[in-house]
Amino acid sequence: MEPTRRCAIVGSGLAALAAYATLRHGGLASNEIAVLGTHEDPTEVWRVRAAAIRQRQMRSESDGHLAAAAFPGLAVRELVRTGSLRPMVATVANRYHPSVEAFLAHAQDVRRRTGWSQSFTERRVGRITAREGGFELDGDGPFAHVLVATGHPGLSRPGEFSGAVHAYEPHEYASRIAIVGAGMAAATEWLNALAAGSEVVSIRRREPLRRPLNVPRTFFSKRGLGAYHSLSNEQRAAKLRELAAASFPPGPAWDEPLAQAEREGRFRVELVPNGAEQVICATGFKRGFQEDPLLARLVTDNGLATFGRWIVLEPDSTIPTLTDNSRTLSLAGVAAQWAFPAADTIAGAKYSARAFLRRICRTR
């Protein structure tokens, strides 16, 4: 039998890099961590999507970066880089949003500094098998501690628009466009299409919420999480459904172009595309563990507790029946929403990563 290796990260996106940086910050050596994923560049998938919707600014704030410690944040780094106090003034008023370019440059810096490439192996993991004292990943291992950060399970398109281009796929804009959805990607696409001179029909089931971040700020800390973790399964699922409602940030940068276009008759809300030349689905991602083959198999193989589309997790993002004093199986990214409602954000990735690190340290 092979000796048990320290830990593995399954997945190679932003959440995986955040976890890797956290583990390295916590004192683990590169050779103690195996990263198994499909892309050596952890920003690749996200970068393509951001480019597709022409995203220039992050919704996250100064601490929305992938390094382990929150300080120095991106605002401080910009201050050092440019000598301008503007990002600092903006950040104390919660008005600082780093550029996508700065975020990605910093992510590459984190990748380089942490030695990510030394731990990375290009492989799509198809099955996680629980063994005594750890887990095998497609027969490789065992690993004592495994963090699954496989990301969103794919792009979501409503059935009636199955042939439409998705906002996160590369595309141009026709002169009359219908954009389906009402979240951040949809709002970004409205502005993109209007700026390109198109006429836009917004197709949406309900009015979007206006929220600075994906979820209210209290849910990013123990204050809101304490109450969230004490909810029953039914209540927690209801809360997650409520928090999943489409939203984009408030502010004139969004409102003014839309109001102007509405006055000019170039932007309106309708129920159907109504003759649009192009339909863009800004409808986000497929939802639920069932959509992720690895997680679906994990649930089936081990009879894991689930509720609705979520795997039931401990508050520290671990799967209770597969975690004990000698081993840890933890989820990060969107699959960890049962533990952290904003799990699909950078803050969420770090939340799972830090809890994972604590468990590793505890079992040293």
């Binding site: 300080f71 008023a93 123990k222 830090r354």
Partner: protein, 385 residues
């Protein structure tokens, strides 16, 4: 950040450490008392107000909350009778506020990765820090209480001169013939002194506080401090019994902590407030009808005179003289009159720099004083905006 209540308390306790270290380094009880007051008020606000009112606290709120707490700490300090020099007290508060920002935004998040998501809780380190801060403060305050000077309450009139040779607090009553202070850490509060050569005579002492002291009918000086560090607040000196009386005279005290004279009213003396070879902050006093000089900052002193009102001074309102360096700002000098002896330096000069002195003046108001603002005998006056 969304603080939990425990997080607020632990962060508050952790953040007070630099101010507490500074207070301990100063070796002054008032500094420890001030830090304790800051902490108690802050914790009360955390529990009673902030936790309920601020489920999420944006970064910018630190400034208005800090200013609000500063106001409350100042009022509480006055109410509790903590005898702190204001500049140092503000300095300690500033250190406390600034260190809270640096610790909360930079150091705690680096030392404890989950600091923000834990709602400001510091974990085991926080509990230890809280315990250490608590023990230090309780021990410090306990020690301060144990060695506090005795308080003597005077009732009615006591025949002086009253000689004080040990640290003590003297409160109330009337003393005839003056008070002599020859010890440090003496506080005189709400006492009226009548007659004698010097109303209050202080020598070779530090941390002497005169608060609401009235002096009447003395023959030499209302309050005289020689080689002493004194804080004189809200005093009143009037009805001199001779033409030689100086209201307040602080001299040869350069080696002592900075002295302060504030909120005093001095009327009809030869000189209102005079300093020689000392460092004194003369602030917010009212000096009326002096026969020689209203305020004299002299003999290599390094003094500040600000927000004073000098009325009806004969000859000179405020003078910086004899190699002194003076900051003279925001004063009002009204009705300085010409002394009839033909001396050009005494022709109703509102502000004067004399004999190798350097005065920096700004924002003073001069009314009906024919001599204006002048420099004599190799001295300079620098006007600032």
């Amino acid at each position: 950040m969304s603080y939990t209540l425990t997080g607020r308390i632990e962060s508050r306790l952790g953040s007070v450490v630099p101010a507490l270290v500074l207070a301990l380094a100063l070796h002054r009880w008032w500094a420890i008392e001030l830090v304790a007051l800051m902490l108690v008020l802050g914790l009360a606000l955390d529990v009673l107000v902030y936790h309920r009112a601020l489920p999420y606290q944006p970064g910018w709120l630190a400034l208005p909350l800090g200013l609000g707490e500063l106001g409350l700490v100042y009022l509480a300090m006055r109410a509790a009778g903590i005898m702190a020099p204001l500049d140092l007290a503000f300095g300690i508060y500033g250190v406390g506020w600034l260190s809270a920002q640096i610790l909360g935004h930079a150091i705690f998040p680096r030392l404890r990765l989950e600091y923000a998501e834990s709602g400001g809780e510091l974990g085991r380190g926080g509990v230890l820090t809280a315990a250490a801060v608590g023990v230090t403060l309780v021990a410090g305050l306990g020690a301060a209480y144990a060695v506090r000077p005795p308080t003597v309450h005077l009732h009615g009139t006591v025949q002086g001169p009253l000689v004080i040779r040990h640290a003590e607090t003297l409160v109330g009553g009337v003393v005839r013939g003056g008070i002599v202070i020859r010890a440090s850490h003496v506080t005189i509060r709400d006492v009226t002194v009548v007659g004698g050569q010097h109303g209050v005579d202080i020598e070779h002492a530090s941390h002497v506080m005169l608060d609401h002291v009235r002096v009447l009918g003395v023959t030499l000086d209302g309050i005289r401090a020689l080689d002493a560090g004194v804080m004189i607040h809200d005093c009143s000196i009037s009805s001199p019994a001779s033409t030689l009386v100086s209201g307040i005279l602080i001299s040869y005290s350069m080696g002592r902590p900075m002295s302060m004279v504030s909120g005093c009213t001095i009327a009809g003396t030869r000189e209102g407030i005079a300093t020689h070879s000392s460092m004194v902050d003369v602030m917010g006093n009212h000096v009326v009808d002096t026969t020689e000089r209203g305020i004299l900052l002299g003999e290599m002193s390094m003094d500040m005179a600000s927000k004073n009102v000098v009325e009806g001074a004969k000859g000179i309102g405020i003078i910086c003289m004899d190699h002194s360096m003076c900051d003279i700002k925001h004063n009002t000098i009204a009705g300085a009159t010409i002394d009839g002896n033909q001396d050009p330096t005494r022709q109703g000069v509102a502000i004067e720099s004399f004999f190798y002195a350097q005065a920096q003046v700004a924002h003073n108001t001069v009314i009906a004083s024919p001599g204006g603002v002048q420099a004599f005998d190799n001295s300079t006056i620098q006007h600032q905006n």
